[in-house]
Symmetry: C2
Subunit: 145 residues, 2 copies
């Protein structure tokens, strides 16, 4: 397993172990992780810190060339908010753990020329399925349904 995807999955597991939503993400620039994070809805009562947002926020303020040469790894297909953030900053490539438990705005990413890779990771699927079964209302809240 790719070391960066492994760290995104690690972040997802960490969040699950904290009682939170198990979605993790890392932002990679020049082959180094510059930001990592996980969903913070439960942990920080946050409406906007999805895994991708947390990783991007933890990377701090960056000039545009950093984003335009970065890869975002995330364990789950990015929702419209995270998709919009990827498009705002021009992140050119997104590697996604799975899109079976939730399919985000991958079409919109592709329409804007973003390279989208879906790994179909069974570990990501199992972790999300377990969480959704245990806390369906928290999950619904996270995706606005």
């Amino acid at each position: 397993m790719d070391e960066f995807f492994y760290e995104a999955l690690n972040q997802a597991r960490k969040s699950y172990n904290e009682g939170g939503i198990p979605i993790g993400s890392v932002l990679v620039y020049e082959n180094k992780i510059i930001g990592k994070g996980h969903n913070q809805r439960v942990q920080k009562s946050s409406a906007i810190l999805h895994g991708e947002m947390d990783a991007i926020e933890n990377a701090g303020r960056q000039p545009v060339y950093v984003y335009k040469n970065s890869v975002l790894y995330t364990t789950l297909s990015p929702c419209p908010m995270c998709t919009g953030t990827i498009l705002l900053y021009g992140i050119p490539k997104v590697i996604i753990g799975e899109n079976q438990t939730f399919l985000g705005s991958e079409d919109l990413l592709r329409q804007h020329g973003v390279e989208v890779v879906v790994l179909n990771s069974q570990e990501c699927i199992d972790l999300m399925k377990k969480f959704i079964e245990e806390k369906p209302h928290v999950w619904d809240e996270d995706i606005g349904v």
Copy 2:
């Protein structure tokens, strides 16, 4: 001037007076402000706290019916990130101060059935123009250019 738009503009002015990007926003549910905020790039070194995001975050965790019956006021046309957040939560109406200094993803909002009202506020235009002239690089960073 509408009291809610006035508060969004107040938030923008507050941010300007703090040395930050002058964009403010409020989220209104049942005729009451449940979240207000402003761009926090400078103040909190944030890559994701645009005015709209800050207001939504400050509203805290909300069930979906709150978002689906809310109105978002913002002094500037929403970027792709903020647009995606509006779509994620199904906020049905967005009232925008101006879209002359920056045109966001209003088309995408309308395509998804969001009611978009643009006020063409001269105060919002003047405030943004002044900031962009004073700190063009901060502004570029905020919109990923």
